[in-house]
């Protein structure tokens, strides 16, 4: 359905993942937001990095650190919709690049494909591209992530010639591309912040990435963080004036989920299941989940802990579980895909998101769609909008354990939370988020004209 309201905008958008190639929450967010904007009549050209050709079929898993989701992980109605749907006003352009959202420098250097491999392919392309390319390649840079981001930006700048009213970028990988496009077209720039280097790495921030983020924030006409939590971090750590920042919370898909429980009765199900699902990285706080599990197991034995996902902290977590001698109650599933994700949500009794720093955190909303009560970190954006969730400080393992046990023990608590939460989920609509984003476009283009 096309709902026209306000001024129609032509948006030049730079992203880095989009269904069906998604590894985290951002692909879904980008998909839902663009869909809602297009429904309001706006026109979007979405520029994405994409791997073509020589890529190993198994690359997707090894490439993406602790990746959570693929297209197959999405519930069926959405999955087919994505496959079938051609959005009339959304044009997707792909640029050859191995950029991936959660890639680290180390992983990048271990990639089976390198810029050098792609080079010959690029050089055969348009004259325009060829010229830009030479610019980049004339510099003395190694095959590192930052250079890849720069190269992407120069390739992307070609698209700046497409007519547009506003430029919309998502996270640091696209910052240079957005800046470049703004230099060329002079149109206002919106920087949508889904996560910060501070979230991903805490105090051990990569300076170069931080600098790119800060530059993007300084040059952007408006910054849209996904929460007030992230807004505060931007003010505090990046020194940006609050007036330039307007938080827009993510929303949740409307589609109903029919948990397929009958087919999924596994061995585990004799006990209650407490779930962690996410990348096993510093940012997600997996270590606090393990410590809380040990605390719970001091008091209750009829419970299993499941850690679903992969990531650089996985080996340490496995060791810690062994050291605590709770291995018989603690299960690592590795990276889950497709119906396994649905199954694990549907079988779980408690979902825990102990993130150290979570700009939004869409996975608790997913768990809630499967009628799983959730415990979420206070250090998250989603805690700002969820009323019917239990909140904890990620470091307070006693409190996490206390709340897990309460949910295991008391049906009255579970029932009340689950009933209220399913009502609450209906409030978080992408339409409303897109409306706020469109208002921001209007505001900054007015100033610009």
């Amino acid at each position: 359905m096309l709902i026209l309201c306000g001024i129609i905008m032509k948006i030049l958008m730079f992203g880095w993942e989009f269904p069906p190639y998604i590894s985290g929450g951002l692909g879904i967010v980008c998909y839902e937001l663009t869909k809602a904007l297009v429904n309001k009549g706006h026109e979007i050209t979405l520029v994405l990095p994409a791997i073509k050709g020589k890529v190993d079929p198994n690359l997707h898993v090894t490439l993406v650190s602790g990746s959570q989701m693929t297209i197959d992980a999405l519930p069926e109605p959405v999955r087919s919709e994505i496959k079938k749907e051609v959005m009339r006003q959304l044009e997707i352009k792909r640029i050859d690049s191995p950029l991936r959202p959660y890639i680290t420098q180390k992983e990048y250097s271990e990639l089976p494909i390198k810029i050098a491999d792609l080079e010959s392919e690029y050089l055969t392309k348009t004259q325009d591209l060829h010229r830009s390319f030479e610019l980049v390649f004339s510099g003395d840079y190694g095959p590192d992530l930052i250079s890849e981001v720069t190269r992407y930006s120069i390739l992307a700048s070609i698209f700046a010639k497409i007519p547009h009213d506003v430029i919309h970028i998502h996270d640091w990988l696209t910052v240079m591309a957005g800046i470049k496009a703004k230099q060329i077209s002079g149109r206002p720039l919106v920087y949508h912040v889904h996560s910060l280097e501070f979230d991903r790495s805490g105090e051990n921030m990569n300076r170069e990435i931080y600098n790119i983020e800060k530059l993007g924030m300084e040059l952007a006409d408006k910054i849209i963080p996904v929460s007030y939590y992230t807004k505060e971090l931007i003010i505090k750590y990046y020194g940006i004036h609050p007036d330039k920042i307007e938080a827009v919370h993510n929303a949740v898909k409307k589609e109903e989920v029919a948990p397929s429980c009958e087919s999924s009765v596994s061995e585990l199900k004799r006990d209650k299941i407490v779930l962690f699902l996410g990348r096993i990285t510093f940012q997600k706080g997996p270590d606090y989940f393990v410590e809380a599990a040990a605390k719970v197991l001091q008091k209750r034995k009829n419970v299993r802990f499941v850690m679903a996902g992969s990531g650089d902290m996985a080996p340490r977590m496995i060791e810690r579980v062994a050291q605590l001698k709770i291995g018989r109650y603690f299960h690592f599933t590795g990276f889950l895909r497709g119906s396994d994700v649905e199954k694990i949500y549907a079988q779980s009794d408690v979902y825990v998101m102990p993130s150290v720093s979570e700009p939004f955190g869409i996975s608790p909303l997913e768990a809630m769609r499967y009628n799983v009560p959730v415990i979420i970190s206070n250090q998250s954006g989603v805690a700002e909008i969820l009323k019917h969730a239990l909140t904890v400080d990620f470091w307070d393992i006693d409190d996490i354990a206390n709340k897990i046990i309460a949910l295991l023990d008391h049906n009255a608590l579970r029932n009340e939370m689950v009933t209220r939460a399913s009502e609450e989920l209906k409030n978080f609509q992408w339409d409303k988020a897109a409306e706020k984003v469109a208002d921001i476009y209007n505001e900054i283009t007015k100033h610009n004209d």
Partner: protein, 399 residues
């Protein structure tokens, strides 16, 4: 001199209550610590409220009573939970209430000792808590109460009958639209099932003008002066016999801060009200001798003075509240049989209605008021903490 019949009686009654806040009690405390109260928080809240409200408000009341030489009268209901905490954390507050009692112009009303919902769960316990509270009023204030108000003005025909059976001559309730219909709250009624007891109904509009709206700048009557307020009351001359102003005492200085001018308002109010010769101050028990019921009032369903609904849904009805309440009251026989005064006292203080109020999830309409009074971030946390405490209490009971 005017005949008593043309006079309109102004009946001011103030509720005084402070729950004992529970300390943060996790599953790891169960079986290890049997101390449930947060002394630090309770001390600081009691001292804060004493300084902001109880002491200054009592001071104003005492001055007014002296100044008007018997023409200014008020009444209080003070819960056992509040009195116990006065003794521990603010003895000067209790002394100042005693001085008010000594004037002879203050009536003390009877209620459940623990500000509990026991009427809904156990008639034995209801009788016991009323007796405990009556004994406390006798001991502290030297009065034997003959007026009864149930916790949070929870009321129906059965509450009235129970009160009549226990010998009370006046009972208080909310003047809710749904029980009054076209009738006015400004008369004395008789509960449907009763012969003797008088029913006094809160005039919620005039009460809430002070309690809720006084400092609200959005209100089109802001600012509320004593002259304006008195003129609204005086407009009732000739229609009505008693106007009941029931409110939390914490209105003065705690809900409406001193800088809103609430104490000046209070101080000037008796003069403005007595300016009209047809108005006088009364206490509930005096009504018994002054006025007769104009009609019977049938209230089969429970009402209260809480929220828009004026029903019980602030304290019971959601699954957490019901689970916690049912578990707690299922212990009655065991607790009685054990006869241990410490266990009995602990079981009773856990009955304080506030703990169930904190578990209320109907935030949508009444969220603001609930949040203001709720020390927990969510009703779920309130429930978890209470259930942990209760689990320890049950363990102790079973030993």
């Amino acid at each position: 001199m005017r005949s008593q019949n043309t006079m309109i009686n102004l009946c001011f009654y103030f509720q005084v209550h402070q729950p004992k806040r529970l300390r943060k009690y996790t599953v790891f405390d169960i079986g290890k610590s049997h101390f449930y109260e947060d002394d630090e928080v309770n001390r600081s809240i009691m001292q804060k409220v004493a300084n902001k409200c109880y002491l200054p408000a009592n001071n104003v009341m005492l001055q007014l009573i002296k100044q008007y030489e018997g023409r200014f009268k008020i009444s209080y209901s003070i819960t056992g939970m509040a009195i116990e905490q006065f003794k521990r954390f603010s003895p000067e507050t209790l002394d100042s209430f005693k001085r008010l009692a000594d004037t002879g112009c203050v009536e003390f009303i009877n209620e459940t000792y623990n500000h509990s919902l026991c009427f809904l769960f156990s008639k034995d316990e209801f009788v016991n808590q009323l007796r405990l509270h009556k004994e406390m009023v006798q001991k502290e204030f030297g009065q034997t109460p003959c007026t009864f108000r149930n916790t949070e003005l929870i009321y129906n025909n059965d509450v009235a009958s129970a009160a009549e059976d226990l010998g009370y001559s006046v009972i208080l309730a909310e003047g809710a639209d749904k029980i009054l219909g076209w009738r006015s709250p400004n008369f004395v009624y008789q509960p449907q099932s009763c012969q003797k007891i008088r029913l006094l109904l809160r005039n919620y509009k005039l009460s809430d003008d002070i309690a809720f709206r006084f400092s609200n700048r959005e209100w089109n009557e802001f600012p509320l002066t004593t002259e304006k307020y008195a003129s609204w009351i005086h407009s009732h001359a000739g229609s009505g016999e008693v106007i009941n102003f029931f409110m939390d005492y914490e209105t003065f200085g705690e809900h409406q801060w001193a800088d809103t001018g609430i104490f000046e308002f209070l101080n000037a109010l008796p003069a403005s009200l007595l300016n009209h010769p047809d108005f006088c101050f009364t206490t509930p028990s005096e009504i018994r001798d002054k006025l007769s019921p104009v009609a019977k009032l049938d209230v089969p369903e429970f009402i209260s003075w809480a929220d828009i609904e004026r029903d019980l849904t602030a304290w019971k009805g959601n699954s957490m509240q019901d689970d916690a309440l049912e578990t707690l009251y299922s212990l009655r026989e065991t607790v009685y049989k054990k006869g241990d005064p410490n266990l009995l006292a602990a079981w009773r203080f856990l009955q304080t209605s506030d703990y169930f109020y904190y578990m209320c999830t109907k935030w949508f309409a009444d969220g603001d008021v609930h949040k203001y009074f709720n020390p927990y971030k969510t009703p779920y946390e309130a429930y978890i903490n209470f259930q942990n405490v209760l689990a320890d209490f049950i363990l102790t009971l079973e030993q």
